[in-house]
């Protein structure tokens, strides 16, 4: 494909000089005009027959209670960047992405061409092909047409010859490849080819007439195909992107006493329905999904298409369970909520509100029966921590580690979380981080009592447990006048900052990597040539957009090496979404796959920034046997540069 801006300017000048003019067929008989009218009506009717149904299903769904159109600025920007610039499409799959972008841009360029084309058929063409504007415009459109034709041919080859697996529909045998896409590609190619060919035939010639009709017929066949196929995204996805919920993995608040999440069709909202019909089946979500990549039944694309199939068969007011014919409960509970799917999606589908919504529907009504899940919820109900351990254990650690109690005078409330409070390794991270804070002279204190932030309950869809924990923590923080929280756990950070909002105003919260990076300059510099591979935790990267801070901490201590999948495309450790507390995985373990990837960097140390990733990799690395790299949290890496504890004491 040839980007517009590299076309030699000489060629452009030549064309402007009149080397080729788009030929039109000239006069049309009334019979031709009548035929054209009939065909347009037929095509339009076929289009609406399906599109009307889709619109009806979307508008017939429940309204999104929490939806606000304003502030609109971000929506306009997202529309410009993701739709008009095709930024996400190109960034995540550059070559096919660019090809897609050219097809899209050509469609935009063709808007006027197509209108004029049809108008010509009725003898009311408004662009003069020989006029200055017409010439330039048609030529530019021609260049786009060329790029589009090349692109669509390339995409055709990719789909039917290269055949990437994620384009397939494993849920539907026989759908290894989408033949309708082939037809659509053919039609687009015909549209472009007939347009381009018209530059090379005589004005008002028979050939021009044939080209004109071929172009018209392709157009009129193309139109009704759009709503009948995944090419519906042509119309819907710009709307979907414009109307997104706004936040990443934003789980909407429950709406009233009868809302338990996505239980039946009645619970599907207009946004969910719109997104389901927008899916273009590109499979980026599945390509990046840790569950789908390790042999589990979850396939995020199929979740979305399952909702679409449900809407097609039962409609948005049906009482039929959503976790039934088209979506399996088992799959919904295999999601680690890593967010790779939602992050990747080029058409604005928000997978996590759907997957978590389905979980909510199952858990809030008691339909999910899982012995580990039940144990987890009972532990959270009874012990207020996900591990089911006694709060005394945390207290003992606080005393033993001599952590000061937060009393409102300190700058930070150091949130231990379940790993920091109970897990031996998590406690080591806390100790290291505390050493750094002490060295910097930062005042901090820990809560006397701390309950789980509710993260596992939130992600597994248990609104009852989540609400109780969030409210109780918020109340305790208000009483203690907590203003700033710092935590070693990205899950705690996310849940406090975003998810607690439904029940009150949470204090400011930051992850220790942000703190460490900010104070990097004040820490002793002891850079070695040790190779340290950094693993981006999902809840720090995709959820919080923190990529550079932990890297800064690592770069100050050694040589940062990157895993094959990193930053936004980082691969999950397998712990999120409450899965750290559930039973055995089917297929490969997500943690093992990722650990191997980190080992493959050849690093001697793996730097983690999340105690859950840490615990998952600890097990996974143990399985790789002798010679596995050591595993450290960034706080531990930072603390290594500190003078010995004795010196610290003397300084203070």
């Amino acid at each position: 494909m040839v980007p517009v801006d590299v076309i030699p300017s000489r060629l452009l000048c030549m064309s402007l000089a009149g080397a080729g003019v788009l030929s039109e067929p000239g006069h049309f008989s009334w019979l031709e005009k009548l035929l054209l009218l009939l065909l347009i009506v037929l095509s339009g009717t076929l289009f609406w027959k399906r599109f009307g149904v889709v619109v009806g299903k979307i508008l017939g769904a429940r309204r999104d209670a929490g939806f606000r159109l304003f502030p609109i600025g971000k929506r306009v920007w997202d529309f410009f960047w993701e739709v008009l610039c095709q930024a996400k499409v190109i960034r995540e799959r550059p070559l096919p992405g660019l090809a897609h972008a050219f097809v899209f841009w050509s469609f935009l360029a063709f808007a006027l061409v197509t209108l004029n084309h049809v108008a010509v058929g009725f003898g009311i063409g408004f662009l003069d092909a020989a006029g200055a504007f017409g010439r330039v415009y048609f030529w530019i459109a021609g260049l786009f047409a060329l790029a589009c034709a090349v692109s669509i041919a390339g995409l055709f080859v990719r789909r039917f010859v290269v055949r990437p697996v994620w384009l397939a529909r494993p849920a539907l045998p026989g759908h290894e490849v989408s033949y309708e896409s082939g037809i659509i590609a053919g039609l687009i190619f015909v549209l472009m080819a007939t347009y381009l060919a018209a530059f090379f035939v005589g004005e008002a010639s028979m050939a021009a007439r044939l080209l004109w009709w071929s172009h018209t017929l392709a157009l009129l066949v193309f139109l009704p195909l759009v709503p009948h196929t995944k090419h519906l995204h042509l119309i819907l996805s710009p709307v979907t992107i414009f109307l997104s919920r706004g936040g990443f993995s934003e789980i909407p608040a429950l709406d009233g006493d009868e809302d338990f999440g996505l239980v039946t069709g009645k619970d599907l909202t207009q946004l969910v329905a719109l997104q389901a019909f927008s899916c273009v089946e590109c499979g980026r979500c599945t390509e990046h999904c840790p569950a789908a990549n390790t042999g589990k039944s979850l396939n995020p694309k199929e979740i979305v298409l399952g909702v679409r199939s449900y809407l097609n068969e039962f409609g948005p007011t049906a009482e039929e369970l959503l976790l039934g014919k088209y979506n399996a409960q088992e799959s919904a509970f295999q999601c680690t909520t890593c967010g790779a799917c939602e992050f990747q999606c080029p058409v604005g589908i928000e997978h996590l509100p759907i997957i978590v919504g389905l979980r909510r529907g199952a858990v809030n009504t008691g339909a999910w029966e899982d012995s580990h899940g039940t144990k987890l919820f009972l532990a959270m109900e009874r012990n207020s921590n996900a591990l089911g351990l006694s709060a005394m254990e945390r207290e003992k650690f606080v005393q033993k580690a001599e952590l000061p109690i937060f009393d409102g005078t300190q700058e930070y409330c150091l949130w231990l979380g379940c790993m920091g409070g109970y897990d031996p390794k998590g406690r080591e991270i806390i100790r290291s981080f505390v050493e750094v804070m002490q060295y910097l002279g930062t005042s901090y204190g820990v809560m006397r009592k701390e309950k789980c932030t509710g993260d596992p309950a939130r992600r597994l869809g248990n609104d009852l447990v989540f609400q109780e924990l969030a409210e109780s923590n918020l109340e305790a923080m208000q009483q203690q006048k907590v203003k700033k929280i710092i935590s070693i756990c990205p899950h705690c950070v996310r849940t406090i900052q975003e998810d607690w909002k439904a029940f009150g105003a949470p204090p400011e919260v930051e992850h220790h990597s942000e703190f460490l990076a900010r104070h990097q300059a004040r820490l002793p510099q002891q850079k070695t040539d040790e190779k340290i591979a950094y693993h981006d935790p999902c809840y720090l990267g995709r959820y919080r957009d923190v990529y550079d801070e932990p890297r800064a901490v690592i770069s100050a201590a050694g040589t940062l090496v990157e895993a094959e999948r990193n930053r936004e495309r980082s691969f999950c450790c397998g712990a999120g979404g409450g899965l750290a507390f559930l039973g055995e995985e089917t297929g490969q373990r997500v943690s093992h796959v990722r650990a191997q990837e980190l080992v493959a960097t050849g690093a001697t140390t793996i730097g983690a920034a999340c105690p859950f990733c840490n615990t998952m990799f600890r097990d996974a690395l143990a399985a790789t046997g002798e010679g596995a790299p050591q595993l450290l949290d960034i706080a531990q890496i930072a603390a290594r540069s500190l003078p010995s504890a004795v010196t610290v004491a003397r300084i203070q």
Partner: protein, 334 residues
């Protein structure tokens, strides 16, 4: 028999055709009580008087041994036992009625006490007698909140005081010579008033591994190094009559089946004794076994987190300690 002075009446229990160990302990408790208050001890037992079991009664000699004999008592029912015991208590009119705290006693004794408008002081771990017994009745000690609190109870008012004694709380007395009378007591029982129909006792068939019901677990972790080393822990488990369990890496390696895995992704267990051998004590493992009554850790790393939760720890190489332990267990069991 109202001519008898008031005393302590102990009900003994037969298990596997012997008077159970805990019954002797209850008798020792009864003697402690009797001595503190100048009372005599009588014992009672459901059995026909010809049963040679009576010859096995030892410890400090009771004044009278009652053989409670009735065909309707051949199998245990709460209705039958409560009715028969009530009649004997009415006849003997003791100040104290003492039971071993067994599952059977828990089933009928509260009901029996209720008939006398009394409350059983159950699961007693200690008895404090005070000087001047008439004015200062004894204090009974029992545990509350799963052993996190000790409580002192006192009996008030007239009527017999009912107690059940926790296993192991008292040490059975050594045999002492003394004069004992054997008396047969035939209660009046009506078959129509026995409302429950008990079936034959049976043992649960041990078809699958059930870590949950094992009273001792020997659990092995990565410290074992190789599959070939597993027999040394298996031998210890056999000596202890324990089930073998493992941490996740052992089951991951396929050295032991997954159903033997203890931890967050495996089973949650709470045995009487949990021996963690070569297990460092990662949180995923700890949550699966923290409820154990007694945790023993054997690990060569003295800083292993498992020692934080252990009641007893041995810091040492498991390849030395475990065989020594197996030998010591076998020696102790004779």
């Amino acid at each position: 028999m109202s001519e008898l002075t008031s005393g302590v009446l102990v009900f003994l229990e037969i298990k596997n055709r012997e008077i159970s160990r805990i019954s002797w302990e209850a008798m020792a408790a009864a003697h402690t009580l009797a001595e503190g208050h100048g009372l005599s001890v009588d014992v009672a037992l459901v059995s026909s008087p010809g049963n040679p079991i009576f010859e096995t009664i030892h410890g400090k000699a009771p004044r009278t041994v009652y053989a409670i004999d009735h065909p309707l008592l051949h199998e245990y029912t709460a209705d039958g036992f409560a009715a028969a015991y009530a009649q004997l208590i009415e006849q003997v009119n003791p100040s104290y009625v003492v039971f071993p705290h067994t599952y059977q006693v828990r089933d009928f004794a509260p009901c029996l006490a209720t008939r006398f408008k009394q409350v059983l002081i159950s699961d007693v771990t200690g008895i404090e007698t005070h000087a001047g017994a008439e004015t200062a009745p004894p204090t009974f000690i029992r545990q509350l909140l799963q052993g996190k609190l000790n409580a002192h109870y006192r009996h008030r008012g007239t009527g017999p005081c009912f107690l059940s004694i926790q296993a192991g709380a008292f040490r059975a007395d050594a045999a002492e010579a003394g004069a004992t009378t054997l008396a047969t007591f035939e209660p009046r029982l009506d078959a129509a008033k026995i409302r429950t129909k008990p079936g034959e006792p049976f043992r649960a068939s041990a078809q699958t591994v059930d870590l949950g019901s094992a009273s001792i677990l020997v659990s092995v972790g990565r410290g074992i190094k190789e599959e070939a080393n597993l027999p040394i822990v298996q031998e210890l488990a056999t000596a202890l009559g324990a089930e073998l369990a493992a941490s996740r890496p052992i089951c991951d390696s396929g050295w032991l089946p997954m159903e033997r895995q203890v931890g967050s992704s495996g089973q949650t267990v709470a045995p009487k004794v949990y021996l963690a051998i070569g297990i460092s004590g990662a949180i995923q493992h700890l949550v699966g076994m923290k409820g154990s009554q007694c945790i023993v850790a054997i690990n060569k790393d003295e800083n292993a987190p498992i020692f934080e939760v252990a009641d007893y720890g041995i810091v040492g190489d498991l390849f030395d300690v475990v065989p020594a332990l197996t030998a010591a267990v076998l020696k102790a069991k004779g």
